[in-house]
């Protein structure tokens, strides 16, 4: 059975060009970049090349603004901890109710450490209000951390404007840009963003590599203490193949970014339109302010895990925000924050497409899904 992979916000296939770029660093070029000999020194050069690739794909002004990490979660933890430690006299953190667990779990932990954390709400379309951020700001806010695009709905937040508001009040600004990277262009030239997290495996690099952008001039405190790697900003021998892969993938993502906004968006729109034509469905998230490849649709009176099992049997990979799939017993915190009614929240389905998907795959899903919904509604005791 063939696999139709429409779960690219969860992870992506490694691009063959990326594999090709990283392989030599698994096999021949295994030297330690910190070594004095040339065998290691050549590896260090490869890291610096990757740093330049990542910096230029983000529009950063200087390669030294990039610190390689092990994943998006490490980047988020590093950024938030660093910001709080460099603004010690301030005891407030502002974030949103719909952040990724990498930020939310840390935020709850910080509350227990005595920080005052504000979680900005979102409206029914998943948008948040900059006025509300403005109202919450005061001289005690150390950091505002706001994702650039939501992983579940794809809704985009106005991070550059939010960064300006944070700066006006002397606070730092961090954004988790894991989902937006490679899908929509980022502009760091305004200087409103101090810290920005990205992850390799969301942009066709392997798992286990991420990066943190640290604006030049922004005070930084390392999270992992150890050797002098990454100019003392992240201890630990570098994941060289991963770093080379991330550099290559970042460059490729910029080369394909127009395709995301045109061809991938068209695929997503066709899939979405066709699924929303079924009765008792709803789109979760703002229609316009969204990532081009993501759609989150709810099917009334159907439970998401059952839906995923049925799709899985057809080889279709997607995800759901239902209770049974969220790892907790409640539906997704994002859908709850948006006030999606229970009849719909348990039956949500997220398809996330990428440049590797094609028309034929979308046709297959459009064909396969309606009978599945019909069957599950037949079994369900809720009918209206």
């Amino acid at each position: 059975m063939r696999t139709i992979y429409l779960d690219n916000n969860a992870t992506t296939a490694v691009d063959p060009l990326v594999v090709e770029a990283m392989m030599p660093f698994l096999v021949e070029h295994y030297g330690n970049p910190s070594s004095m000999h040339e065998f290691g020194g050549n590896v260090a050069n490869a890291i610096e090349k990757a740093r330049e690739q990542v910096a230029s794909s983000l529009g950063a002004t200087h390669p030294t603004e990039i610190v390689f990490t092990s994943c998006g979660t490490e980047s988020d933890n590093t950024a938030i901890r660093s910001a709080l430690r460099s603004r010690k006299s301030r005891r407030r953190l502002i974030t949103t109710r719909v952040e990724h667990p990498a930020v939310l779990t840390l935020a709850r932990h910080l509350e227990r450490e005595g920080y005052d954390v504000t979680y900005l709400p979102v409206d029914g379309n998943g948008n948040l209000s900059l006025n509300q951020l403005e109202e919450e700001m005061d001289e005690n806010v150390a950091l505002v951390s706001m994702m650039a695009a939501n992983n579940e709905t794809g809704v985009i937040f106005p991070v550059e404007k939010a960064g300006r508001i944070a700066h006006e009040h002397g606070a730092l600004f961090h954004t988790d840009a894991v989902q937006i990277m490679g899908k929509l262009p980022l502009d760091l030239s305004s200087g409103n963003i101090d810290l920005l997290s990205i992850s390799g495996h969301k942009i066709h690099a392997p798992k286990g590599i991420g990066a943190l952008y640290v604006r030049r001039g922004c005070r930084f405190r390392p999270f992992l203490l150890g050797g002098h790697q990454e100019r003392g900003r992240r201890g630990g021998t570098e994941n060289v193949p991963g770093i080379v892969a991330l550099g290559c993938a970042a460059e490729l993502s910029q080369a394909h970014i127009d395709e995301e906004r045109t061809r991938v968006r068209a695929l997503r729109d066709r899939l979405e339109k066709s699924l929303l034509a079924m009765p008792d469905t709803r789109l979760n998230g703002d229609v316009d302010q969204r990532l081009p490849g993501t759609t989150n649709i709810s099917f009334k009176n159907v439970e998401g895990e059952a839906l995923l099992l049925m799709l899985d049997r057809k080889g279709i990979c997607a995800s759901s925000g239902s209770a049974c799939t969220s790892g907790t017993l409640e539906p997704s915190h994002v859908l709850r924050a948006m006030g999606v009614p229970f009849h719909f929240a348990h039956g949500s389905l997220r398809f996330s497409l990428c440049r590797m998907n094609n028309d034929e795959e979308v046709d297959f899903v459009i064909e396969a899904l309606p009978p599945i919904i019909e069957r599950l509604r037949e079994i369900s005791l809720f009918k209206d």
Partner: protein, 288 residues
């Protein structure tokens, strides 16, 4: 997270038996709610001559294992007398499916509850058994789980941890504010378990970990001993707890008091009575 469902679970999910509603059903049981993420409606047809379940149908809103549990249940009860059907436990429902993942055991509990409700409805009983026992107080507000249900499921499945209780009933799986209460219920059960009472020297408290013992000793000294000493302008300081050996220092009027021996043996008795009969109390000289 992909669940490890057995082939039987998959079979009953992909091709469920007895989906639907019986016309002219003799009993209907409806449990769960859309807010909780799963719900089951079971209708039964009863042969009144010999009190036997002739037929049943289900409708389920829920995950794969909820649908599979409902499907297998309809097969299990067919041809059984009501008394026999009521003896089916949630473990038997899970076992009939070749087992369920621990996080999904609540699906088997839901099946069993729907069956009880359907039979109660047929018999004209208004409420489920937990209400009859007047234990309908809600413990878990997120999922509307009563104390009665938690006690029943803990007893029937010999549950030991809060995680177990959440897996079987969902209680505690939402905001988590009822976890303390679930722990208290579990402690009552663990106190009552026979293996604990078999110990010869049974202290008042169940077996304590080191940390728990230290906390308990401190609590007794702070709440029950020191206030009395303080009334006489005296006091004590806890110096050390090493296993069962407790060292204290008498201060203020208690230091050098002629009745100090009496006081310390009173404190020692108190600790032995509540914490452990093997406690020994040592008084360290002031300044030592």
């Amino acid at each position: 997270m992909a669940w490890n469902y057995t082939d039987l679970v998959k079979q009953h999910f992909f091709q469920p038996n007895n989906v639907g509603v019986l016309d002219n059903a003799d009993g209907t049981g409806k449990v769960g709610s859309i807010a909780c993420g799963d719900a089951l409606k079971l209708t039964i047809k009863v042969d009144k001559e010999n009190d036997t379940i002739e037929d049943s149908r289900f409708q389920t809103f829920g995950c794969g294992s909820a649908i599979a549990s409902s499907s297998i249940l309809t097969g299990m009860i067919k041809g059984k007398t009501l008394e026999e059907a009521l003896k089916i436990t949630n473990q038997e429902i899970a076992a009939a499916l070749g087992g369920l993942p621990p996080e999904k055991m609540h699906c088997s509990v839901m099946g069993r509850e729907a069956l009880e409700a359907a039979i109660a409805d047929y018999r004209g009983e208004k409420a489920g058994p937990e209400e009859e026992e007047d234990e309908g107080r809600i413990v878990c507000n997120c999922f509307g789980i009563t104390e009665g249900k938690i006690r029943k499921v803990v007893a029937e499945n010999n549950l030991r941890t809060v995680e177990d209780v959440t897996n079987y009933t969902k209680a505690g799986g939402g905001c988590g504010s009822c976890i303390d209460e679930i722990e208290t219920i579990l402690e009552e059960f663990s106190d009552a378990r026979p293996e604990q009472t078999q110990e010869k020297k049974k202290p008042k408290s169940p077996k304590l970990t080191n940390l728990q013992r230290i906390a308990l000793i401190q609590e007794i000294l702070d709440n029950e001993v020191r206030p009395i000493l303080q009334k006489d302008n005296g006091d004590l300081e806890l110096v050390d707890i090493d296993g069962l050996a407790v060292s204290i220092r008498m201060v203020g009027q208690c230091s050098g008091c002629r009745a100090a021996g009496l006081t310390t043996s009173w404190i020692e008795d108190k600790l032995r009575e509540i914490v452990d009969p093997a406690i020994s109390l040592d008084v360290v000289e002031e300044g030592a």
